[in-house]
Symmetry: C2
Subunit: 586 residues, 2 copies
């Protein structure tokens, strides 16, 4: 295999066009092979094979610096920059991450996992180069739905002011994760139809020079275009028309499904492991669809990620105008929800914990200062749902729980979750965020209320003494386990389901002081600024001691949840031991 | 005065063109009168007088809904919607806020103070209207520098998909707060020069219909344009060319200075109160200018607000390429800083605490995961610096202190601040944020170190017993006062300057356990998720009690700092009393 002999981009430069085409085939073969066994981003990488080869053929990485947006289109780049071993044999698949990673290679400049950042980050490299009086090309690769994100548009707008070398490659594969949304994608389509010659041109209107490459999977067209812009003395956009999923028929045909895939059979495209029953995501979409039928003002909103909360194409079609995909644009999504709620609609914005980070100010300003009764569903908020450093879902509790007016709920089972969701649709006094549980849905073992308007009211599940356990949301189950283990040690603990993240049930907590010496908090997220610290502050002036369990402050990457739990003292035996020690050898 | 007889927009509709011109004069007279005594946003409002009259003449507010971006261009709107009394006599000036405010009038739909939100918020009103099967026009007014913000661009992109009535009025006054930056403003200039007919058109490229009004301060042109788009069945942009500061010569001449003004003499434009000596902002710019001369890689970055940290036009000119104004685009600014630091530059991004909220994800992902050594200066972070609800600077400690890798510093005086700033420029291991002190600069009374690379090392200012006071940043001075008041009561307290917000000096804290019963934290910000809670969690498992002082969780608006401090138990007598009570009647 030719690819095995590529140690670095220097080896690419020695190849003939025919050899590069062979190389492209090799890359696709290894990509499909690895993805079929390991899973990962499929369509975006398949579409970028030729462009990546051409970039390395024309430019001189790492002196010339290529920054891949989201970096889920960076696997071919990894193969050409000394990391092909991680695609050759299964035992080395995890030697590289799924995103660009400077610790792996001098050809990667940033750890990137959120979308829409490459123009700004690469713009910084270009400005830094200029400040230092250095030379070299800086290339930002963006596309695959990322252009609609505010940060990318801010970056494009700014780029026009950089009076020096800067090349922005727009990988236009005609898709976001799902279909593209927003006016700018219509403009891209118009540009494709006119071979870059139509009157309306977003990039020129932003003050940038522009080059169009119609055959974005054709090596000679790409090489010609990149040569043309190499060493440019001003910012220029190279718009390349690529085919998402190129070279693997199932991925070309169903681009949304094949954006990211679990392991599959190469011959048929069938997933190796079938979907295992109901999950909270599918449950959510099915439930909301039902509500939409009864109430035409209920409207689900996604920012380019419908699939992560059960909105399959058929469900979206069924919802019709009651489903809005704003494209990758979380800031807009939150403000839109606020406006809809103000106008009497019932918007439900579902967003992954990690991506909600992009809209903190909109949650605070547009939504919560205005106190409009929209519903936010915080998806995947947990220490276990995502383990890539750029996609950690650890931080939503600290992020949201300090925002005044927001009611932030932590359901502990399926029935409680759906009751909270229904209640939030009817509630008209404040915005409500719900931390959607993760994992296999648990059934309620106790009656669940339908009304949560007595804010901050916790559920006292069982009353013991000496030690009380507050098991928040996903970690209520852990609280049950700890409680049971303590019982084996002769301790009858009090067990509480806090239900509300955004405020404490002060009267319940104060009632503990008389016969409890220790209050324990368990939260499925970061400790710093989180729920436990509020409880610790509450009991600070009292004689009751507190122990907070959650994740310590660190960026972790690709961790095994079991190891991570052990390192953070989150296993049942560790928690029990800490409790016993605090109680003084009880 | 004709304006005094305008009770509601219905009265505007009865006027002739000549009367409306008189009305415009009346509005300007009252605006200038009020601003000269009270201060406030000047230029943006003066430019929008005719457009506001025309909007109310053509549309039927509140059935037709007008949403003013930032709303510092909404004073004329307030005068025409039943609130003229707040502009007529000084005793009523504070009856209205400086921003749009639904609690004041049914003609205001949102509390808006941050920029770039109106398109998304109004878009939500339009979508909500459609879901409910209602009719009526929805109008977003945007401009004055706001267009470059990511949220606005996301909103424009999305708007093209709304297949119903939506009108976006772009108030193009050729300025941001300072001069405009970014490629899109070049496009606006081109559109002005060509009377809306040039080939490049950002709005058309975003898929929107477009109308240009060259005479944006001419009532009949405006009325004609608004009539044309009224009841449109699709989204349309009305681009109006206005004059910022129109009708007041000093404001027309120096648009940047007159964006917002302190009270002034109308005849001369001279400020009534002269600038009173040195402040931390001016200090910062002067200091950085000096560093820039020694090191050509030092680069200051602002997101459209150079003035708030001392970057006057002359200083900007002196800094040349070492000063970058990205326009209102905080997300881009943070990513740009990360990229520059990666390339070996020394970027310093200065941003108001309240506006930093717009870039949480960029601080976390683009900057801190990548651990690039950029410097963030968090300006105005304090309970006292801004008292409008949309501009509260209470939340930066909770926001930043949970982000791994970030070193977040809280200097307590001038010398310590500048030492930290210099150190951050030289430090190459982590990004550094500095919470720039507020108020009149204090001089150091103790020696200040030049090296802060022993992370989380606090300064033990005096060692007492029983009670320890951690006075963070601005509130170190409060700690000194409390300490002194306790001495009068016979208590020799330990006083600590934490220096680091982002981590605790655990060995120092642990050394207190033996002879301290109470640890008190004082922070000039929100309590929830803040510094005190980290200290409370640290001491949770011990017998040491904790008391945290800061602001409780609430959105407050236009408060008197003294009242606010009293309500939050932040006065010296209150703090002393709470301490004595906790110590048990010591």
């Amino acid at each position: 295999m030719l690819l095995e002999h590529i140690q670095s981009p220097a080896d690419v430069k020695k190849l003939s066009l025919a050899e590069m085409n062979t190389l492209a085939e090799d890359i696709r073969t290894l990509l499909i092979e690895k993805l079929s066994r390991h899973g990962g981003h499929c369509g975006p990488n398949l579409g970028m094979v030729e462009a990546t080869i051409a970039l390395h053929y024309v430019f001189d990485s790492p002196r010339d610096k290529i920054v891949f947006d989201v970096s889920h289109q960076s696997y071919p780049h990894k193969m050409l920059t000394g990391r092909v071993a991680a695609f050759l044999s299964e035992s080395h698949y995890d030697d590289v991450s799924g995103y660009s990673e400077p610790s792996e290679s001098e050809h990667d400049f940033f750890v990137i996992g959120h979308t829409s950042t490459s123009v700004s980050l690469a713009g910084g490299l270009a400005k830094g180069r200029d400040l230092r009086g250095e030379t070299g090309n800086v290339i930002a690769v963006i596309g695959d739905g990322s252009l609609s994100g505010g940060e990318a548009l801010e970056g494009l707008d700014w780029a026009a002011e950089l009076n020096s070398n800067f090349i922005i490659v727009v990988n236009d594969n005609q898709m976001s994760i799902a279909e593209n949304h927003g006016g700018l994608y219509e403009n891209l389509a118009e540009l494709r139809r006119s071979h870059g010659c139509c009157e309306n041109n977003l990039f020129r209107a932003m003050g940038l020079d522009y080059v169009y490459v119609d055959k974005g999977n054709d090596l000679s067209s790409l090489i010609e275009a990149f040569r043309k812009v190499k060493d440019t003395n001003h910012p220029v956009v190279v718009h390349i028309n690529t085919l998402k999923g190129k070279g693997y028929a199932p991925a070309e045909e169903d681009k949304e499904t094949w954006h990211w895939t679990m392991p599959f059979e190469i011959s048929t495209g069938a997933l190796k492991q079938k979907n295992i029953g109901e999950d909270y995501n599918s449950l959510t979409a099915a439930h909301l669809l039902q509500r939409m039928k009864d109430d035409k003002t209920v409207c689900a909103i996604t920012a380019g990620t419908p699939g992560i909360w059960g909105w399959t194409p058929s469900r979206r079609q069924e919802a019709g105008k009651q489903f809005v995909d704003v494209g990758i644009a979380e800031e807009h999504a939150v403000a839109l929800a606020s406006g809809m709620a103000k106008a009497g609609g019932k918007p439900v914005f579902g967003v992954c914990s990690s991506f909600l980070q992009r809209a903190y100010d909109q949650v605070s300003q547009d939504l919560c200062i205005n106190d409009n009764p929209a519903t936010l569903l915080v998806l995947w908020g947990s220490l276990t749902s995502m383990t890539d450093v750029t996609h950690l879902c650890h931080f939503d509790i600290p992020l949201l729980s300090g925002i005044p007016n927001l009611v932030f709920l932590a359901p502990t089972n399926r029935e409680e979750y759906l009751a909270m969701l229904d209640w939030s649709l009817a509630y008209d006094r404040h915005p409500v965020a719900i931390r959607v549980p993760v994992g296999e849905p648990r059934s309620a073992t106790r009656p669940v209320p339908t009304d949560f308007s007595e804010l901050n009211k916790s559920e006292l599940v069982s009353r013991g003494k000496d030690v009380a356990i507050l098991g928040l949301g996903n970690f209520f189950a852990l609280g049950e386990q700890v409680s049971s283990a303590l019982k084996d040690r002769g301790i009858e603990a009090t067990l509480i389901n806090p239900r509300f993240i955004s405020g404490l049930d002060e009267s319940l907590l104060d009632s503990l002081v008389s016969d409890h010496r220790l209050v324990v908090t368990l939260e499925d997220g970061a400790l710093e600024g989180g729920y436990g610290e509020k409880v610790a502050r509450h009991f600070g002036p009292t004689s009751v001691k507190t122990l907070c369990f959650g994740a310590r402050k660190e960026f972790v990457d690709r961790y095994a949840p079991a190891d991570f739990f052990a390192a953070n003292h989150l296993t049942v035996p560790q928690i029990v031991e800490d409790i016993l020690q605090s109680l003084g050898g009880f």
